[in-house]
C-alpha cells in the first residue's frame, strides 16, 4: 500500500497525542487531582489513529468508556478535554459529563459512553441519517470484546447489514472485559467471526500495527462511503494499564510477563522504529513531537485548573431543549 509520508507522520502524531494525553491524565487521577475514574487508552493508540486517519469532521464515531483516545484522534481540543476531566465549566460538556461522557458533536464524536454496548445502536442511527440525507458520510462504531456480548451489538449489526448502512464496527479486542479474559467470556477467538452471521465482511488485523489498521480501515470505510454497506474490523490489541487508572502490573487477573510481552510491541515505539528505518521520521524528530505534545497537554491542564467550576445554577440547565 502506498501511503504518503504526510499521512504516516499524521498517524504518528495522533498516536503520540493520545499517549501523552493519557499518561498525564492517569497521573492526575491517581493523585486525586481529577475526580472520578478514568479508563485509559494506553497501548491501543494504533486503532484510533489508523481508523481516524480516514475520517472527515463530518463522519461520526461512537465511542466507549475508554473514549479519550477516540476524541483526541478525531481532533479533540486538549483544553476542552482536560477542563471536562476536571469538571470545569469550560469543558466539552460544561463539567456535566466528565471522562465517561466526553464528546464533541461538531467533530462527529457522539460521545464516550458509560454503558457498555451503547455505541452500536447509536452508530446505526447516525449511519441511517447519513444514508437518509444522501451524504457520503460514514459512522465508525468503536466497541470492546466485552461489549460484543451485549444484545445491543447484535441488534445493531443485524440492522446495519439489512439496511446496508454506511457504518464500520471496529472491535478493539484488548483481550479483557474488566478482569475477565476473552476466553472466559466468549467461546470464539475472533469477534470478526460474528460478522458473517449478520451478512457483512469481518476482518482481523494486528491492532498494534498502525499500518495494518490503516489499510483495513481504509477499505471498510471506503466500502461504506460508496454504499457497499457495513463491515466489522477487529483489531487485536492490549490495555497496558488497568481497567481503571494506571497500575497495570502486579494484578491478579493477568501475569506481568504477559503485559511486558505486549509492551514490547508498543504501537508507537514500533512505528517510530519503522519510520526511522525508512528515513521518514528521525528519532530526534519523534522526540520533538513527544515534547510538543507534552507542552500542549501541560498548557491544557493549566487552562483546565484555572477554569471555574460550573455555577450551581447550571444544575438544572441542559435537561431539555427549548423547542423553537
Amino acid at each position: 500500500m502506498n501511503v504518503s509520508t504526510e499521512a504516516l507522520r499524521d498517524m504518528h502524531l495522533r498516536m503520540v497525542r493520545i499517549r501523552t494525553f493519557e499518561e498525564e491524565a492517569g497521573k492526575l487521577m491517581e493523585s486525586g487531582r481529577v475526580p472520578g475514574s478514568l479508563h485509559l487508552y494506553v497501548g491501543e493508540e494504533a486503532v484510533a489513529a489508523g481508523v481516524m486517519a480516514h475520517l472527515r469532521d463530518s463522519d461520526q464515531i461512537t465511542s466507549t468508556h475508554r473514549g479519550h483516545g477516540h476524541l483526541v484522534a478525531k481532533g479533540g481540543d486538549f483544553k476542552q478535554m482536560y477542563a471536562e476531566l476536571f469538571g470545569r465549566s469550560t469543558g466539552y460538556c460544561k463539567g456535566k459529563g466528565g471522562s465517561m461522557h466526553i464528546s464533541d458533536l461538531d467533530l462527529g464524536m457522539l460521545g464516550a459512553n458509560g454503558i457498555v454496548g451503547a455505541g452500536p445502536p447509536i452508530a446505526i442511527g447516525a449511519a441511517f441519517s447519513n444514508q437518509y440525507r444522501k451524504t457520503d458520510n460514514v459512522t465508525v462504531c468503536f466497541f470492546g470484546d466485552g461489549a460484543s456480548n451485549e444484545g445491543t451489538f447484535h441488534e445493531a449489526a443485524n440492522m446495519a447489514a439489512v439496511f446496508k448502512l454506511p457504518v464500520v464496527f471496529v472491535c478493539e479486542n484488548n483481550g479483557f472485559g474488566e478482569f475477565t479474559r476473552q476466553e472466559r467470556h466468549q467461546a470464539i477467538q475472533d469477534v470478526a467471526d460474528r460478522a458473517s452471521g449478520y451478512g457483512m465482511p469481518g476482518v482481523v488485523v494486528d491492532g498494534m500495527d498502525v499500518m495494518a489498521v490503516y489499510e483495513a480501515a481504509g477499505e471498510a470505510i471506503m466500502r461504506a462511503r460508496r454504499g457497499g454497506g457495513p463491515s466489522l474490523l477487529e483489531c487485536k490489541t492490549y490495555r497496558f494499564y488497568d481497567h481503571v487508572g494506571i497500575r497495570g502490573l502486579g494484578v491478579a487477573y493477568r501475569d506481568d510477563s504477559e503485559v511486558l510481552e505486549w509492551r514490547k510491541r508498543d504501537p508507537i515505539t514500533m512505528f517510530e522504529r519503522k519510520l526511522d528505518e525508512e528515513g521518514l521520521l528521525s528519532a530526534g524528530e519523534a522526540a520533538g513531537i513527544h515534547e510538543t505534545a507534552l507542552a500542549e497537554v501541560r498548557e491544557a491542564i493549566a487552562f483546565a485548573e484555572a477554569s471555574p467550576f460550573p455555577d450551581a445554577s447550571a444544575l438544572l440547565e441542559d435537561v431539555y431543549t427549548a423547542t423553537d
Binding site: 456535566k96 456480548n149 444484545g151 444544575l315
Partner: protein
C-alpha cells in the same frame, strides 16, 4: 418469620456484611449460586463477593459475559426450575439494559402462569452517587421497581441491615431486588456473626422522637440521624424511621409515628419527582390526614441527571443539612 435482633458481636464494614451474608447463605443451601460480571475472579468491583470463588468454586460463583439481559434471564430460568440464584447487576443504572427481563418476565411469570411458579430469585445491585461517576453510574432508580407488581424491593441503610435483609431476600420465595449504596459500603457497624434475618416489609424506628417523623430511605438514614442531632440542638425531638423494604411497604409503622408527631417528611437520594417519597407521602395523608399539622415534605434530588462535576454533584445529592432545612421549613422556622 420473625425478626431476630441478634446481639451484636463485632464491627463489620457494609461491604463485608454483604459478602458474609452471601457466604453463610451459600454454606447453608447448595441451590444458591451467584452470577454476575466480575463477581468471581474479581470479587466484584465493589468487593461484595470477595473470597467466594475460593470457597465455593466456579460452579457456584460465576463470572458472566457483559450481558445483563442474559444475567437476569439466567437467574429467572434457574429459579423457575428449582434453584435459588443470586444475580448481580454491577451498577443499578445498567438495569436499563435488562428491563424487559425484570419487568415483563421476572415480575410477571408467577401471576401470568396462574400462580404455578415459585421464583426465589435475588437481584443485587449498587445505587447512588457521590463519587463523580456521572449520569450513568450514580442513579437511584428504586421507584421504577416499586411500581411493578411481583417484585419486592429492599434498600438497606447500614451493615447490620445489609446482612439481615440480604439473608431474608435470598430465603424469600419471590424475586427480590436488593439495592445497596456505594457510599454506604464504607460504613462500619455492629453485625452479628451468625446468620440472621431482618423481616421484609417491616420498618424500623431507628430513633424514637415526638415532634417530627423523618422516613429515610437507604443512605438517607444516617444523613437523617445527623439531621435529627442538628435539630435536637433546636429543641426538636425527631423520630427517624427506616422502612428497610420499599415493596412491600410498612405503612402502619409510619402512620403510627405520624399520629404521634403530626408532621413528616420523606428523604431519599433519588430524584424527588415521582420518587418513592411521593407514594409514602400519599399514604400518610390517606391514613393520617386528621393528625397532620403540616403538608408532608419530601427531600430528594433535583430534576436532572446526576452531574459529574464535584460541586454540582454535591449540590445534587441530598444530605443532613438539606433534611434539617426541610424540617425547619415545614415547621415554619427560618433556615
Amino acid at each position: 418469620m420473625t425478626t431476630v435482633e441478634a446481639k451484636p458481636t463485632r464491627q463489620l464494614s457494609y461491604v463485608a456484611a454483604v459478602s458474609e451474608a452471601f457466604a453463610q447463605l451459600m454454606r447453608e443451601d447448595p441451590d444458591i449460586f451467584l452470577a454476575g460480571e466480575d463477581v468471581a475472579l474479581g470479587g466484584s468491583v465493589f468487593g461484595v463477593s470477595r473470597g467466594l470463588l475460593k470457597e465455593f468454586g466456579p460452579e457456584r460463583v460465576i463470572d458472566t459475559p457483559i450481558s445483563e439481559s442474559g444475567i437476569i434471564g439466567l437467574g429467572l430460568g434457574a429459579a423457575a426450575t428449582g434453584l435459588r440464584p443470586i444475580v448481580d447487576i454491577m451498577f443499578m443504572d445498567f438495569m436499563g439494559v435488562c428491563m424487559d427481563e425484570i419487568v415483563n418476565q421476572v415480575a410477571k411469570m408467577k401471576y401470568m402462569f396462574g400462580g404455578k411458579a415459585k421464583l426465589p430469585l435475588t437481584i443485587h445491585t449498587m445505587a447512588g452517587g457521590g463519587g463523580s461517576m456521572a449520569a450513568q453510574h450514580s442513579q437511584s432508580l428504586e421507584a421504577w421497581f416499586c411500581h411493578v407488581p411481583g417484585l419486592k424491593v429492599v434498600m438497606p441503610s447500614g451493615p447490620y441491615e445489609a446482612k439481615g435483609l440480604m439473608v431474608a431476600a435470598v430465603r424469600d420465595d419471590n424475586p427480590v431486588i436488593v439495592i445497596n449504596n456505594k457510599v454506604s459500603l464504607r460504613m462500619q457497624a455492629d453485625v452479628p456473626e451468625e446468620l440472621y434475618e431482618i423481616e421484609l416489609g417491616r420498618a424500623h424506628v431507628v430513633r424514637p422522637g415526638t415532634n417530627f417523623t423523618i422516613v429515610a430511605i437507604g443512605r438517607m438514614v444516617p444523613e437523617s440521624l445527623k439531621a435529627a442531632e442538628m435539630l435536637a440542638a433546636d429543641g426538636l425531638d425527631v423520630e427517624v424511621i427506616d422502612p428497610r423494604t420499599l415493596q412491600p411497604f410498612d405503612t402502619a409503622t409510619v402512620v403510627e409515628s405520624v399520629r404521634k408527631t403530626h408532621r413528616a417528611l420523606v428523604a431519599h437520594e433519588a430524584v424527588r419527582f415521582g420518587g418513592i417519597g411521593a407514594e409514602i407521602a400519599a399514604q400518610i395523608q390517606e391514613e393520617a390526614f386528621d393528625y397532620l399539622d403540616a403538608p408532608v415534605g419530601r427531600v430528594g434530588a433535583p430534576f436532572s441527571p446526576v452531574p459529574f462535576s464535584p460541586p454540582l454533584e454535591k449540590e445534587y445529592i441530598p444530605d443532613a443539612g438539606r433534611v434539617a432545612a426541610e424540617v425547619r421549613r415545614i415547621l415554619g422556622k427560618q433556615v
